[in-house]
């Protein structure tokens, strides 16, 4: 899988370059700006799709390479991880600080890259009619997209954080400037603070990890491993012990660098045990993990439609993805200790988010809290720490991304015309906006797990994974030991699924069914072709994944395999 151009860099830098170019375009030429933005988003999507499809085509090769790594017998997890990486780009950036510009896709982030491309196009299209400061909007939006792409493909912790912050900054401006007047400043500030705090906390953890790994590789036995890895090609020949490179940190993790007892002078403590919750929850904040979820509904509601779409559709996945990549993959021992209690937080996410969504009067808040609920399932999938459950979590990330972007698109289209999001005062909209009504129902069905749509296969595999994991998981607090409780958690989580059906139907029937009041909404009419395209574009993947999960699941499994190896399982 080699191509004669750095495809991942292109995906990241096309939006940045176009964002800069847009600043040169006179602000009156709005259409030129829009077309430029659409062109950039389209190019990114095309490249993402190319990456996805070519990666998917080579799944068999990757599986073979992973099997070979098992045969070879040393550093299996790291070797498996290296075997999954494709389209890698590696450039020493600041070798003195151990920073390299290292990008790559594996089975976990390739679907996310595709998802980002989709939502980017959809976002530009639904923002087409923004007349106020179009130029700045589009430029910031593209910067945001670039930042998101950067996080997903980064294979160096520093680069990952770099793009992470790059994504947050335009987000703040977009919400504070173009958002819903009543809430935007509060929400933008809340969101930024939450995410910044999360990322700062995670960053501290990451730096500590890099230092610990450097110490390990400088120790006599570590140096041996390090040299051997360099010799075998696992690490680049120029690698230094002090490095942010994720492959290198993975190698450190696999060789127990983070599992040494006596960390920080405490007997029973290891690095991973102390720092895992910090890093996992630090990123988990972006995935809306309870009780750090409150930035997200406010943020979703205050943001303009396109930003809500990116935000709930992609940004929250960023958190879940980074929590897995930097938390579980790099500190597997910590994951085994801590995920058994973090799973309770995810349970609260699922049920609690659904309950709150059920009672919202504001159309957009319903979707906002539903994201909290659904993202809980993703984290729950990670917590299973087995193939089935984690595959489900990966599918749920993609499924929820497309679905929630579709939801926000629908809400935006209704709001643009009705100028209210108050559910009780809407009604009968399917009569005047049949496309939106049907799209919303399809999204709703995916969200409640209707077979044939992507939500079902994701939820079902997560549930199965929970049952499979149940006998192996115990949680000890002091003398108190809890075992086999995952099955109870999954039964309780089912309440959330029922409530999901309830709120989806409630909103559907109150907004789209019933009597339509023409006197109240004199101008409401059907949507444009451009908007129809958005709905179809976001709705189609729900069916594709739902009917043929095989187009994504095996790929995800190649990405999950190394993590499982590191966790000590199969």
């Amino acid at each position: 899988m080699t191509v004669p151009f750095p495809v991942l860099s292109l995906i990241i830098f096309i939006p940045i370059i176009v964002a800069v170019l847009i600043l040169f375009i006179p602000r009156e030429q709005r259409d030129t700006i829009r077309v430029a933005a659409l062109g950039a988003a389209g190019a990114c999507f095309a490249l993402s799709l190319f990456v996805y499809i070519s990666y998917n085509n080579s799944v068999a090769d990757i599986q073979a390479a992973q099997a070979a790594a098992v045969q070879a017998g040393t550093n299996i997890g790291t070797a498996q991880f290296n075997a999954t990486l494709a389209y890698t780009e590696y450039v020493e950036w600041l070798p003195q600080l151990g920073i390299s510009y290292h990008l790559g896709v594996d089975g976990l982030n390739a679907p996310m890259v595709l998802l980002t491309g989709m939502v980017a196009i959809a976002g530009v299209l639904v923002s087409w009619k923004i007349e106020d400061r179009t130029k700045e909007f589009m430029a910031f939006f593209l910067l945001l997209v670039a930042g998101v792409y950067g996080v997903f493909v980064a294979m160096d912790l520093f680069v990952l954080f770099f793009f992470y912050e790059l994504a947050i900054f335009p987000m703040y401006l977009l919400i504070a400037t173009y958002g819903w007047v009543k809430l935007r400043e509060y929400a933008a500030m809340k969101l930024t603070l939450y995410i910044l705090i999360g990322s700062v906390v995670a960053l501290i953890g990451a730096i500590a990890m890099v230092l610990t790994a450097a110490n390990f590789f400088s120790s006599p036995e570590g140096a041996q491993i390090f040299e051997a890895a360099k010799a075998s090609g696992l690490l680049p020949a120029s690698a230094q012990p002090f490095s942010f490179n994720i492959t290198q940190l993975t190698l450190a993790a696999e060789n127990g660098a983070f599992n040494v007892f006596g960390y920080a002078g405490v007997d029973g403590l290891t690095f991973a045990r102390l720092w895992f919750p910090v890093v996992f929850i630090g990123f988990g904040i972006l995935a809306g993990i309870f009780p750090f979820h409150n930035w997200s509904p406010d943020g979703h509601v205050a943001a303009p439609t396109a930003v809500s779409m990116i935000h709930a559709g992609v940004l929250m996945k960023l958190g879940a993805y980074a929590a897995l990549r930097c938390g579980v993959q790099l500190m597997p021992e910590g994951a085994q200790i801590h995920l058994p209690w973090i799973v309770f937080l995810t349970l609260i996410n699922v049920v609690y988010g659904a309950f709150i969504a059920f009672r919202q009067r504001d159309f957009k808040y319903v979707i906002g809290f539903s994201s909290v609920s659904h993202m809980g399932l993703v984290s729950m999938g990670w917590a299973t720490m087995n193939m089935t459950g984690m595959t489900g979590a990966g599918l749920q990330m993609f499924s929820h991304g497309a679905m929630t972007a579709l939801f926000f698109g629908c809400v935006g289209m209704v709001y643009d015309r009705a100028h209210t999001r108050d559910i009780p005062s809407l009604g009968g909209f399917i009569k005047v906006m049949p496309w939106v009504g049907i799209a919303f129902i399809i999204g709703g069905l995916a969200s409640m797990g209707m077979p044939g749509l992507s939500g079902f296969i994701a939820e079902f595999t997560i549930f199965t994974g929970m049952f499979q994991a149940s006998p192996d998981i115990t949680l000890s607090i002091g003398n108190f030991t809890l075992s086999n409780y995952y099955s109870i958690i999954v039964v309780l989580a089912a309440i959330g699924i029922v409530i999901t059906a309830a709120y989806v139907l409630r909103v559907t029937s109150q907004v789209f069914f019933g009597e339509f009041d023409r006197a109240k909404y004199p101008d409401v009419g059907d949507i444009t072709v451009r908007e129809r395209f958005v709905l179809v574009f976001l709705g189609a993947p729900l069916f594709i994944i739902g009917l043929m999960p095989a187009v994504m699941a095996p790929m995800l499994q190649t990405g999950i395999q190394p993590v499982l190896t590191l966790l000590g399982g199969g």
Partner: protein, 805 residues
Amino acid sequence: MDLSAFFSNPNNLAWLIPIGPLLAFATITLITNKAKMVPGTSSEYTDHNHPAYPGIDVPMVANWSRAASVIVGLVGIGAAWLISLIVIGQATGLHELGHDILASSITWMDTGAGGFSLGTMVDPLTAAMLFMVPLACTMIFIYAVGYMAKDPRQARFFSMIALFAGAMLTLVVADNLLLLFVGWEVMGLCSYLLIGFWFEKESAYKAAVKAFITTRIADVIMLLGIAYLYAATGTLSFREIVYNTEVLEGLAAMPAIILPGLSAASLIAIFLIIGTVGKSAQFPLHVWLPDAMEGPTPVSAMIHAAAMVSAGIYMLIRMYPLLQAGGDAHHGVFTPPLLFMAIVGSITAIFAATIAVAQNDVKKVLAYSTISQLGFMVAALGIGAYVAAAFHLLTHAFFKALLFMASGAVIHGMEHGEHHVHAHGHGHDDEHDEVHVHTPALTAHAESAHHEGEHGDAHDTHNAHGAHDAGHDDAHHFDPQDMMNMGGLRRTMPVTFITFLIGGLSLSGLPFITAGFFSKDEILADAWYGITHGYGPHALVFILLALAAFLTAFYTMRQLGLTFWGEARSEAAKHANLGKGLVSFTMTLPLIVLAFFAVVAGYIGVHPDLPIFGAIFSPNGNPFHHFIGPTLAEEPGSIPFDWMPVLTSIAVGLGGLACGYLLYWRKPLVAGQRDPLIGILGEQMHTTLKNKYYIDAIYAAVFVRPALWFSKNVAYEFIDKGIIDGFLHLLARVFTWLGDFIKTLNMWLIDGVGDGIPELIARFGFWLRGIQSGRVQQYMLIITFVLLVLILIFALSTGVMQAAP
């Protein structure tokens, strides 16, 4: 793949069965369902039985589109029927169907630990269902041609009902629980869409939501059961689970993960049974089914007979070896799932039968009757009467589809009569001046219009539905479904009368003639067999089911008497008829076909030792028993003939019919007369029954309102807004205060000392101002230049294009 080779293999043929209706669904939805937009107030639209919709354009199916959609739908289901017959032929031609089956399967998704496969299989049980389902569906489709002929959305109706049929057929041919669940859920969706078909009407979409949510609760629990089963065994294939004693014994020996003392098999079984409790409307999740009549009548027939509720029972029959793993009802070894089924089933049977007695709505009686009859089947499974349950499932589907469609014909006729009355200007011209109604759609809308008028639109979606219904019943407008308005319809609607009578008698179990008698008798015979061996659950089932059977005969006779006997109790009833032409024909033909099966279907399962009949129909043993038995790895033993259950069946059947006859036929009700039942039961008892034991109101008070209260007050207001956000806001306040404090400190302390630093910065700024020319071009030049240089350096100095080592 070579398709012709693929399908010429009989193993693969079953894939084609659901394809027909599914293709019809796709074709209608994507191609033929073309509507023209007409103003919502135009006569073209309102003439076709919909309420005026001022201010907007509404879709109105074009004539060619209507015809094309109907034809596509009929072709789709007809193809499914034909292929089913071919498949049945192929299957029965197998050497020993049961041990040998037709099967075909593909891998759907690999989960890493095993995989999910999708496949079809045809064993005796599937073959029996393939005989019933496509036949009943085809009849329902034909009926809908006439019934929905005036609806502006008939094309859409056909697309949805085709999806419904496709989902049911998928479920029937599925070879594993996952595919079965797919069909199961898609049916749930279809029931939602079809119950809420007239979605302008508040009561319709509320009923739709209620049906969906209620069944959804059960479905999610069932899904957990499936997930657990998969986690425990690594497969969901029927053959690998229920036909495999090793797996079953393993599950029965494995302790359940949640409740100690229960085996894994029992826990999974209970989860699955709860799925059926929802889908097949068993107590306490039965509440959705009566409301589901808000949908057009063909949908009711579909839900109540051919598809949805049958699916629940079918699943239980299919999974039966798992349900009884570790137990054996025939030898008095009851596992928790068996007891659960016996109790839930028999309670539902008697409970719903008592409610049916006091209903005045012609369709509601049937709805409760369905619930009751499904209870018979569940109870039968609970006591191990495997074959009897399957038998009753088949016969019930025929006569209940017939009864629903016949009642639809009655309603149609009544509306026709009402229209006639209006058109000719006599009677009932008081309050209907502006809303003129004459078909189900119509009435529905008139009702909702009234509703809005009376109560405003301040309803909470989750209000108790029961309260609404009570309001409905004595609304002052004409209700074409109220049996109190009927009477004497035998004269104007003779075909409907005779077919309704046949269906009703079959439901009542008229001895030796009707299918219902034989199937019900077989359940009682199984229960009696248990009693003779001293098993408690059998006794419970026997007594409650016998009582329920008595009530069944009684309420059926009451319904027949009120509807068809005596004299017309309203002007509409006097003129009720189906008219002539296509509508009348398409609605009558299915009734006649189904009436045939409602009688003869019973003769396939006569006990060989029953005098006369046994010799005629079962000279070589009970044919149905022989056919279905091999579905199980261990064939169910047949029980010896006993007169006691037969006499009981005859007694309760005839007794119920006789009581009904005495009350409602000998002296038929006249207009305005009170139901004689009120006198017998007492006012209070009757009201309680009529209001269905207030279950809806109880649910609203116990579940719905607390859930709403919890979400709003506890989860959202208290925890989310109060604690979490409150804490944050407190934090923000502390930080603000801290900031103010530091600011003050800064001003007095640091600023006082360090004014030199700003001074320095100011000088630096002054110097820097030199390049701040204010000329944008110059800035751009600098920026572009720097950028280019950087890119150049970057590209030259490093191998961006090199892959990582």
